[in-house]
Symmetry: C2
């Protein structure tokens, strides 16, 4: 049995359950939605990631003896609430966008239909997973778009929490990265892993010749030799001298990468190592990758910027009560009135409006009714959970395919890296029809 | 038994072990150090956090059957290396700054003395933990400094990975936050938890009166009522009508907080609720907290900005081989030559130089020798691990006390929020003496 995820929760969710049990409204049918009020400044689209991880965590959202003992000991909730939590199983339905889907302001990414109490306790877990993973995937997608056919390796584990690192590797893979340095991500999520050696390996040895010769003997001629510990030109010459033209790759981790890529490529070619690849790895982000598009680089290794969302470490998703049953028995849309944090009341349905050419034109969000497909459109709502049971695949590979499809449908301007407006306008059905 | 932490590691660390086993240098005595080349732009000091978590993770750094099976199946390393990993136990010594200590460029925060192979495999785990936790603590310390005697509540779980959230709550606590919304942080790290209700709770009910009355009945008069769901003035009036002057607090989560704090304080006082406190929680960071210093606010709730390091989500710490035994048997300082990422070779020792007034003056870093205490100084190096055994407390409360002491020693300019240089100059002993 997996560890419980039930305490990855904010204190106030449980006190709300307590108060709602007392007021008799804990069982009111409700709809909670997760969406972005806006995209991070200048971004043209967002990428939803983490849905699969959230659904797996939902299965483990159980208040067992240890969790209840903690809550009791610290008097966080009363006995009646503890009894309710002890029996907690999510029994509602969850709809949402498929993991890997692109999104825009207002897109209903996760729609939880349940009683108030069953839904409110999932707020923190859903947002933690989706905000983190979507922040990483949204940045990663810009990087893979800029990289084109050249593969990207995620290698940012050391720049983020050790648990985030595993999830970040998964989210980057969803957004098109080809591999990760993180071994746990390989084990847990089936993502290909990659890596050969750091500067410390070279420094350990008495000289670079000793280090390279041993690495080639141990890891094979296809390995990647790190050539910037001392002098790049001397190291490239030594690498080809020792490995011959079968050398897999050289890696450059410092300096002016554009200039060095040209120099090293020319040197490798002159030495006959025409198929030896060049890997670059120094503080890359989507802009640095774009600046290297015309340079003879074969592989990008990306660290800090991808795992920290390239300037936007949280996607800004919120989880809001948008509808609940009223006294009449009918569902009623609800929203708070605060001027600077408005929400649109009512349950939402997303549809990607496409032209006859298959290119996406708008994000249609129906309020309390499903928008009509005009023949070229793509339905975005997927049933993820039915009466408490997860009914979709939760793996990263499926989400990765979905992302490639969804991104390919966007107008070309969506992939520009410069600051811009969301690539598709969000149109609420009440405006549209 | 805890889950193994051994795969929270970059692929290349294990291939380096493989190559070093072949070259015969895997057992060379080495020193690896973790330090910051620079502070994040404009920051005046950094706060080390995560040391306790790293030491706990070190105890669980074991390659068990599952980990070895994964490595074998994916041919990540050869059989000889798998055998070595199966027997892996860290048997070296680790020195470092105490958790909670403030630091400056070059401060030797973690100094690992071991064979190459034993030390190199800890690189990613050490950096993941320390980079994340120190980023959060460094931001959190600026917030608690700006907040003065007013307590700060960490409530950013939803804006970061669900595992980071627990560690972020701990790091914020180390840097002086008083409590967290995160229940798992309460359970795992003993941090006080806090929370009452969100807007969804009010919206669930037919009206605010119903919601407030039930909350007061269920959670007591000392609870915090959220007053900005509809109209703040009406809600405050209703709150005091229902609870009387015993009302614990009101919370404001939107709008102009300075203006509203003054208005709500005046209204509460006019209603006789002079001891009812005001909690504010809308997108606060250290600058917003500073701007509220003159406003009648009692408690700050901080979310996104603290868990994401307030603009600097990774502390930028690196883990470098700085010394290793040479052929002669003597230890030799090593460093790579790259121009833009230089390191200082040799084992480091940190000392906080203080004036006779007890105020810190400089960060003294001795290279290969311990700097002399001139009588007023404070020794910074603590032995954390002795022959593989953790020999210091790893809890958050101890680190929190240490941080309060270390910060109090800094010159006043260190606590200014404006962009500045590091508050203490780092002086390498070779320059100093």
């Amino acid at each position: 049995m997996n560890p419980s995820t039930a305490l990855l929760t904010d204190h106030y969710e449980l006190t709300m359950v307590q108060a709602a049990l007392r007021s008799g409204h804990a069982d009111r049918p409700c709809v909670f939605e997760t969406f972005a009020r806006r995209l991070p400044d200048g971004r043209r689209y967002g990428v939803l990631a983490g849905t699969g991880r959230f659904l797996e965590a939902l299965r483990d959202f159980r208040f067992g003896e240890d969790e209840l003992a903690f809550l009791r000991e610290h008097r966080i909730v009363d006995e009646r609430t503890l009894d309710w939590l002890a029996d907690y199983r999510f029994t509602g339905d969850i709809w949402g966008y498929a993991e890997g889907e692109v999104y825009f302001p207002g897109s209903p990414l996760l729609v939880v239909e349940s009683t108030f109490a069953e839904g409110v306790v999932l707020e923190t877990l859903a947002l933690s997973v989706l905000n983190h993973d979507s922040a990483v995937a949204s940045a990663a997608s810009r990087m893979t778009a800029a990289a084109g056919d050249r593969p990207c390796i995620e290698m940012g584990s050391r720049r983020t929490h050790e648990g985030s690192a595993v999830a970040a590797a998964r989210a980057a893979y969803v957004a098109g990265f080809g591999s990760t340095s993180n071994l746990e991500a390989g084990r847990r999520h089936g993502i290909p892993t990659a890596g050969t050696a750091a500067h410390s390996y070279t420094l350990l040895h008495d000289d670079e010749r000793d280090a390279f010769a041993n690495q080639l003997a141990s890891l094979g001629l296809g390995t990647t030799l790190l050539v910037d510990t001392y002098d790049v030109t001397a190291a490239v010459e030594l690498a080809v001298e020792l490995a011959g033209p079968e050398l897999g790759a050289v890696r450059i981790d410092s300096g002016d990468l554009v200039e060095q890529a040209h120099e090293v490529r020319a040197q490798l070619d002159a030495l006959g190592a025409t198929s030896t690849r060049i890997v670059v790895t120094s503080d890359l982000d989507e802009h640095a990758i774009a600046a290297l598009q015309a340079a003879p680089v074969d592989v990008y290794g990306v660290g800090t910027s991808v795992v920290t969302g390239s300037g936007h470490p949280a996607a800004g998703l919120v989880y809001k009560l948008v509808s609940r049953q009223g006294d009449s028995g009918a569902m009623e849309g609800v929203a708070k009135a605060s001027k600077d944090k408005t929400s649109v009341a009512g349950r939402k349905f997303g549809l990607r409006r496409r032209g006859p050419d298959g290119v996406a034109r708008a994000e249609i969000v129906g309020i309390d009714e499903r928008p009509q497909d005009d023949g070229d459109d793509r339905e975005l709502m997927v049933r993820l959970v039915e009466r408490g049971e997860v009914v979709v695949p939760t793996d990263a590979a499926t989400a990765r395919e979905h992302h490639a499809m969804a991104r390919a449908e966007l107008p070309r301007r969506a992939l520009r890296l410069s600051h811009g407006e969301p690539a598709l306008p969000t149109t609420y059905l009440s405006d549209w029809s």
